[in-house]
Amino acid sequence: MTAIAPGAVAPSSPIPAENAPTDSLARQMSLLRPINQLGLGVGLVFGLLLVLSGFADPAVVHKMLLLQEPDLYLMFAAVMATAVPLLWLLERRRWRTPLGGPIEIERQPVQRRHILGALTFGTGWAIAGTCPGPALANTMGGHILGGAVVAGLFCGLLLREWVKVRTAAHIGRSLDTRP
């Protein structure tokens, strides 16, 4: 604690009030925060795995969606064989996470949006042979047309958000939480 002599100018707050949210956002983005380091690290590993496993290649995914190769499905089974028991164990042990408090596994009841959104998503996935992670990987690999998918993704996400906010304002409740 620093005592401030009466009459002295307080060590001025460096941030004018109107800039405060932006500044706090900059502070939140700091890579000194462990949660951001974790995000960056897991993102890096996830990206490496996407490319090294071959699932970032639309041709590979296309063959699997044509049911000509089983690897994508086997890979999903292997993800589940690893993650299901470990998440179950963490929950059962009431694991305390170092950065986010006691573990709380998020479970959503089935809602209309899960079906309608997935129908829309699945159609795009079939046409492009790639989903959001692989689309970025494909673009980073120099496939210029992958960039068209990424651009479309950004626009689609924002469009849905815009529709959601607009509709919620109209009907007084959120469209995407309706059962």
């Binding site: 932006t22 706090s24 956002l25 983005m29 925060r33 974790l38 960056l40 897991v42 993102g43 890096l44 590993v45 996830f46 490496l48 795995l49 996407l50 490319v51 090294l52 639309p58 296309h62 044509l66 049911l67 999903f76 089974a77 292997a78 064989a81 690893t82 993650a83 998440l87 996470t97 950065l99 408090g101 573990i103 596994i105 479970r107 959503q108 009841p109 089935v110 899960h114 959104g117 997935a118 998503f121 699945g122 159609t123 046409i127 492009a128 042979g129 959001p132 992670g133 980073m140 690999g141 120099g142 047309l145 992958g146 068209a148 998918v149 651009a151 479309g152 626009c155 689609g156 996400l157």
Partner: protein, 153 residues
């Protein structure tokens, strides 16, 4: 090109999901990181900043892996689409496909990773239904396009 086999990649993907839950009580989902990037670019104070970093890590990790394999190599090729159509049309089709995916993912509340990996591994009923729906849809639409295009797509 040699790939990591599914029985190596699968468990490692599974561990990324478990690590985020075990260390931070957070869910892994790629479409959410795209969205949070737009939130950050629009200077929204409620931005989930770790997801922005995840997106940046994803971009860096994929670029690193591509570089390890001798790339990146600029190309305008995109499988059957660029064989069947001129580049301009293929670009428009792919933008449209991205638009559908982005819209659908935000609507459903997740994509292949958020619902398909994290949600299913958590045995979340909504995620199980979403995953079954988008896998089923993707297979049906892919087979239909293949049939209708005489095998070109």
């Amino acid at each position: 090109m040699v790939h990591l086999p599914w029985y190596v990649a699968g468990p490692l993907f599974g561990l990324t999901v478990v690590a985020l839950y075990a260390l931070a009580n957070d869910t892994l989902g790629v479409s959410g990181t795209y969205f949070q990037l737009t939130q950050w670019l629009r200077r929204r104070p409620e931005t989930d900043t770790w997801r922005v970093w995840f997106w940046l890590g994803l971009a860096g990790g994929t670029l690193l892996a591509v570089t390890l394999r001798g790339g990146p190599a600029l190309s305008l090729e995109y499988g059957g689409l660029t064989l069947a159509f001129p580049v301009g049309i293929a670009t428009a089709v792919l933008f449209g496909a991205g638009l559908l995916m982005g819209y659908g993912a935000r609507w459903a509340g997740g994509c292949t990773s958020g619902h398909g990996m994290t949600g299913v591994a958590s045995r979340s009923p909504g995620s199980l239904v979403a995953t079954a729906t988008f896998f089923g849809t993707a297979v049906v639409v892919t087979l239909a396009l293949h049939r209708l295009s005489g095998g070109a797509l």
